[in-house]
C-alpha cells in the first residue's frame, strides 16, 4: 500500500481532503529537496509521478491519487522481533524528540502481542537495522507508522498462536496469548513462553492491511497514560543527545557563513585563522568554506578570524515590504479547490455575494530555532561512514552524507541521537553534509555544531503569506460565497523545473481550507505563487496557522454581521460533522464560556481547526496591558478528537506544547531581514515566549477508540492565533490583520481610537 493510499485509508469515512493530499505531497516534497541534490537511492520508489496526490485544476481530489510503489518493508520481521530472553524488539525508522513515540509505539506492540509494556525494547531510526522511513514530521507517526506497527504485531500474534497450538497439540482456536506466553484457554497451566517457542526466530509473515487487529474493547495497554520511561534520563542529564555524542580523535568544524542568502563566495582568506590556537585545517570548495579545530571554542574563535568576500543579491526585499513584494511578484494563480466546478466559477461566486467584503491577513517569515542547534558528527571509516546526528530524518542523512562523500548509501550508518527539539528544522541534512565534507578534508571525525545565530540567521523559514478572503453573509446568516486567495512562496525550495511541474499547488500549503470543517456550497481557493527571499520550509503545522487564523477571524466577523454568537454561527455549518461539534462543545464547557454577539468585553475567543486527521477547538482568554500594548494569553481551553488515543497524557502534553508554540508565534515571532540578511538572529531579538507569557492549557480529548489513530503533534498549533485574535477583539474591539500581534501594533491600534477596550 502506498503512502498516499495509507493517508487516504486512514481518513475514516470522510472524503479525501486537501490536507491529507498536501501531506502526501509534503512527503514527496520532503524528499524532493534531498533528491534535487542527492539522487536519493529510494527516490524511484518513493517519488510519486508528477503531481500525484494533488488535484490538478478542476479535478476532484478523489479522482487523482495514484499510488507510488511503497518504499516501506512489508515483512513483519522488519518491524518486530521476539528475542531469546522473551522480550520483544520494535524497530522503526521514526525518531524521538519528545513527542512520546518511544512510549506510544511500545504500547501498540505490547497490546497486539500481549506482553508487558516494560518488555518492549525499541530501536529508533538506526539506518542499518531499522526499516526505511520517510522521516519524523507531518504528525505522521501514529497515523502512518502506527497502523503498520499494529499490523506487524497482529501478524506476529497469529504466528505465535499457530506455533503455540502446534506445541500444545491443539487447534489454534483453543489457545490464547497471555503475558508473553501461549496458553491453552481451557487449561491455563499449559503454557509456553514466547522465548521458548519463538525466541530468535523469524516469523516470515507479511504485513496485511486487512488483518484483524485487537478489539478496542479488550485493550489493556492502549489508552493508558503510561509514564514515558525516557523522562528519567531527561531529569538527571544522562540522556545522550546529538550534541553529546563523541568519538575517538574527534575535532570540531565550523563553516564560513555568507552575509546573506543567495550570496556567492568571491574570496576567502584563512591566513590569520590558520595560526589560531587549535586549528587543524581549513577547507574551501566553491561557496563552501570552513575550518576544523581541536576544541569547539577554538573553532568558534578561529572562524571569526576568517576574512571572506561575498557577492550579494541585494534584492531590496525586507521584512517590512515582503507582503507587497509577494503581491507584486505572484504568478497568475492556480485554482486549488472549488465547490462548483463550472468554468469561471470564481466570478459566479463573486456575483452571488451581496455586498462582498475582502479581508486581508499577513503573516511573517518565522524560524524553528530548537534549543539544541543542528549538529552532526561524521566519522569516515574503511568501509564507509558513521554519523551521529540530531535529526528528524536519519535515512535522509544517510543519503546526504553518502552523496557528499561519494559513497553508496548502504555503507553509511546513521545513529539518530536523542534530539533537542526540531519542529521541521532537522529534516534536511545541513550540518551532516557540512561535517562530512570537513571530515573528508581533514581526515579525522568532525562534529559540526551550529551557533544560535546560524540557526536563526542561516536556517530555513516558514514563508510569509498574504491571504485575501472575499465573502459575504445574507439575511439568513448564510455565507453566500467564499473566495480564498493565498499568496505565498512554496513550502520547500524549488527549482524552476519543479515549479513548472507543480502548477497544481503541490508546493503550497492551503491546508485548513474552509471545506476541511464547514459546509459551504460556494467557495474557491486560489494559490498565487511568489518567490521567497529566504529558504522556505515546513514549520510545525506549516501554513495551517495562518490559514486557520484568517478563516476563523473572518467567521467571527460574519457571525457578528449576522447577529449571531461565534458558536451558534459555526454550528449551522457543521450539521454533518458531529466530531467537530463535540470538540467545540467540549471546549466551550471547559472554558465555562457564554458566548455573545460581537464584542462582549470578556476577552474570550474561539477558533476551530482540522489537521493531520484530528479535529480541534480552542478557546483563549486574554488580557491586555494598555500601557505597554502587551497581550497576555492567560488560558487556552482545548477540545480535540485525534481518534483512537494511545496515551492520553502524552497527547495532552503535545497539545500543551502546541498551544505554547502557537501563542509564541502569534504574539512575537517574526524573522527580520533586509536583502536576504537576517537581522534579528539571537534569542534576545527573536524571542520566543517564556514561562511568564505562557498560557495555562486545559484539554479534553473526545476521540473514540473505534476511530483510526490520527496525528497529534501539530493540529493544536493551528487554531491558537485565531482564538487569540478573536479574544482580543472580544476584549477591545480591535482587529489585527498582521501577525505577530506585537505591542507596537497593539498600541498603534489603540492610538487610532477606534478600539474600545473593556478592562
Amino acid at each position: 500500500m502506498s503512502i498516499t493510499d495509507e493517508l487516504v485509508t486512514n481518513a475514516s469515512n470522510r472524503p479525501v481532503t486537501r490536507r491529507r493530499l498536501i501531506q502526501s505531497a509534503g512527503v514527496a516534497a520532503g524528499l524532493t529537496i534531498v533528491w534535487s541534490t542527492i539522487d536519493r537511492a529510494t527516490a524511484q520508489d518513493a517519488t510519486p509521478e508528477s503531481g500525484i496526490g494533488t488535484p490538478s485544476a478542476g479535478a476532484t481530489p478523489e479522482a487523482t491519487p495514484v499510488a507510488p510503489p511503497s518504499p516501506f518493508p512489508s515483512e513483519a520481521d522488519a518491524y518486530i522481533r521476539v528475542n531469546t530472553d522473551g522480550t520483544v524488539t520494535l524497530l522503526t525508522g521514526k525518531v524521538e524528540f519528545g513527542q512520546g513515540i518511544r512510549t506510544g509505539f511500545a504500547q501498540l506492540v505490547a497490546e497486539e502481542l500481549s506482553v508487558p509494556f516494560e518488555s518492549v525494547q525499541i530501536v529508533l531510526g538506526q539506518t542499518d537495522i531499522a526499516p526505511f522511513d520517510i522521516g519524523t514530521f507531518g504528525s505522521l507517526s501514529t497515523r502512518l507508522t502506527g497502523p503498520r506497527i499494529r499490523q506487524a504485531g497482529a501478524a506476529m500474534r497469529l504466528w505465535l498462536l499457530e506455533l503455540g497450538a502446534e506445541h500444545h497439540g491443539v487447534d489454534v482456536s483453543e489457545v490464547e496469548l497471555m503475558d508473553g506466553a501461549v496458553v491453552v484457554s481451557a487449561d491455563q497451566t499449559k503454557s509456553v513462553t514466547y522465548a521458548d517457542l519463538a525466541g530468535g526466530q523469524a516469523s516470515q509473515r507479511e504485513l496485511d492491511p486487512d488483518v484483524e487487529l485487537k478489539d478496542p474493547s479488550t485493550f489493556t495497554v492502549i489508552g493508558q497514560s503510561i509514564a514515558r520511561p525516557d523522562v528519567l534520563e531527561k531529569v538527571d542529564g544522562s540522556l545522550v543527545y546529538g550534541i553529546d555524542a563523541t568519538v575517538e580523535g574527534m575535532v570540531w568544524g565550523k563553516v564560513v557563513r555568507p552575509p546573506s542568502f543567495g550570496a556567492t563566495l568571491v574570496s576567502v582568506d584563512f591566513s590569520e585563522a590558520e595560526t589560531a590556537p587549535g586549528v587543524v585545517g581549513t577547507f574551501h570548495d566553491g561557496d563552501f568554506a570552513g575550518l576544523v579545530a581541536e576544541r569547539y571554542e577554538q573553532a568558534e574563535a578561529a572562524i571569526g578570524l576568517v576574512k571572506s568576500e561575498w557577492q550579494e543579491l541585494n534584492t531590496g526585499t525586507t521584512w517590512e515590504n515582503i507582503h507587497q513584494v509577494i503581491l507584486d511578484t505572484s504568478d497568475a494563480g492556480t485554482i486549488l479547490d472549488e465547490t462548483n466546478l463550472q468554468p469561471g466559477v470564481g466570478d459566479q461566486i463573486l456575483a452571488g455575494m451581496t455586498e462582498p467584503q475582502t479581508y486581508t491577513f499577513r503573516s511573517p517569515f518565522v524560524n524553528h530555532t530548537p534549543i539544541e542547534p543542528r549538529n552532526s558528527l561524521v566519522e569516515i571509516t574503511e568501509s564507509g561512514a558513521n554519523v551521529w546526528s540530531s535529526t528528524q530524518d536519519p535515512f535522509g542523512v544517510r543519503e546526504g552524507v553518502a552523496k557528499a562523500l561519494g559513497l553508496e548509501a548502504e555503507s553509511v550508518i546513521v545513529y539518530p541521537m536523542a534530539t533537542g527539539g526540531a519542529f521541521g528544522a532537522k529534516i534536511v541534512p545541513l550540518a551532516d553534509v557540512e561535517a562530512a565534507r570537513l571530515a573528508q578534508a581533514v581526515g579525522r571525525p568532525v562534529k559540526v555544531l551550529w551557533r544560535r545565530d546560524e540557526e536563526i540567521g542561516h536556517g530555513q523559514y516558514r514563508p510569509a503569506v498574504v491571504i485575501n478572503i472575499t465573502t459575504s453573509v445574507d439575511e439568513q446568516a448564510k455565507i453566500t460565497g467564499w473566495l480564498y486567495d493565498l499568496h505565498s512562496a512554496s513550502y520547500f525550495p524549488e527549482t524552476a523545473e519543479q515549479i513548472e511541474e507543480n502548477q497544481n499547488g503541490a508546493a503550497s500549503d492551503w491546508s485548513a481550507n474552509i471545506h476541511e470543517l464547514y459546509e459551504l456550497p460556494n467557495s474557491q481557493t486560489m494559490w498565487y505563487h511568489a518567490a521567497a527571499p529566504l529558504p522556505p520550509y515546513y514549520w510545525r503545522v506549516n501554513g495551517a496557522s495562518a490559514n486557520t487564523w484568517a478563516r476563523e477571524v473572518t467567521l467571527d466577523i460574519l457571525a457578528e454581521q449576522s447577529g449571531m454568537d461565534p458558536v451558534s454561527f459555526r454550528r449551522q455549518m457543521m450539521t454533518n460533522n458531529p466530531r467537530l461539534a463535540a470538540c467545540m462543545d467540549a471546549a466551550v464547557e471547559l472554558a465555562g464560556w457564554t458566548p455573545g454577539v460581537g464584542q462582549t468585553g470578556q476577552g474570550i475567543g474561539m477558533a476551530l481547526g482540522f489537521d493531520a486527521g484530528s479535529y480541534v477547538a480552542e478557546i483563549a482568554k486574554v488580557e491586555l496591558d494598555q500601557e505597554t500594548g502587551e497581550i497576555f494569553v492567560r488560558n487556552v481551553y482545548v477540545g480535540m478528537d485525534p481518534g483512537l488515543t494511545i496515551n492520553p497524557e502524552a497527547v495532552k502534553h503535545q497539545i500543551e506544547g502546541s498551544v505554547v508554540l502557537g501563542t509564541s508565534s502569534a504574539l512575537r515571532e517574526i524573522v527580520k531581514f533586509e536583502n536576504g540578511r537576517v537581522t534579528n538572529a539571537s534569542f534576545a531579538e527573536y524571542a520566543p515566549i517564556t514561562m511568564r507569557e505562557a498560557p495555562a492549557v486545559e484539554v479534553v480529548l473526545t476521540g473514540a477508540p473505534d476511530q483510526p489513530m490520527m496525528g497529534v503533534g501539530e493540529p493544536a498549533v493551528a487554531p491558537v492565533a485565531g482564538a487569540i485574535a478573536n479574544a482580543l477583539y472580544d476584549l477591545t474591539g480591535m482587529r489585527l490583520y498582521d501577525m505577530p500581534f506585537t505591542p507596537d501594533r497593539v498600541l498603534a491600534e489603540l492610538q487610532k481610537g477606534e478600539a474600545t477596550p473593556v478592562s
Binding site: 524528540f97 519528545g98 513527542q99 512520546g100 509514564a227 514515558r228 525516557d230 523522562v231 528519567l232 534520563e233 531527561k234 531529569v235 538527571d236 542529564g237 544522562s238 540522556l239 545522550v240 543527545y241 550534541i243 553529546d244 563523541t246 590556537p277 576544541r295 569547539y296 571554542e297 568558534e300 530555532t369 530548537p370 534549543i371 539544541e372 542547534p373 536523542a418 534530539t419 533537542g420 527539539g421 526540531a422 519542529f423 555544531l449 551557533r451 544560535r452 497524557e649 502534553h653 503535545q654 500543551e656 506544547g657 502546541s658 498551544v659 505554547v660 508554540l661 509564541s664 539571537s682 534569542f683 534576545a684 520566543p688 517564556t690 514561562m691 511568564r692 505562557a694 495555562a696 492549557v697
Partner: protein, 154 residues
Amino acid sequence: MAVTLTINGKEHTVDVDDSTPLLWALRNDLGMTGTKFGCGLSQCGACTVNIDGEMARACITPVSVAAGKQITTVEGLGQHSDDTLSNLQQAWVEVQAPQCGYCQPGQLMAANALLTSNPDPSDDEIREAMAGNLCRCGTYGRIFAAIKLAASRA
C-alpha cells in the same frame, strides 16, 4: 594551564585556557554533558548551573571565575540509575515535565537555585525566576507545576 574546579563536591583539574567557558570544560573535558549549549550568550538558560548555590550560566562563566567555588550541575542533583533523584527531580518525573528534555537540566538548575534561596516562592516569583530559561517544546506549565509540587513537599 591547569584549573581546578569543585563540581558536585569533587575536585577536577582541567588543562584549558582560563578564559574557557565553564560549559565547554564541563562538556568536552570532563564528559559531563548534562549541561547544555543553546546560545552561548546567556539568552536561553540551557547551560544553567549553580555556583555557590546561585544560578549561573556556564556558557559565559570562564573557568577562572568558577575555580574555587562550589559548582553544582544537573548530574549533582541526583541520578536515576542509583535511585538518588532529588525532591525536585522526583516532582519533575511525577508531572512528566520534559518533552524533548534538552532544556530541562537548565530548568532544573534554575528551579534548584530558586528553591534554595526561597523555599516557598509565590507563583509570580516562580515565573520571574524561570523567565530566563527557554523551552521550545512548550513545557512551561508542567515545569511550573513541578516546582510548586517540590516546594509543597520541602
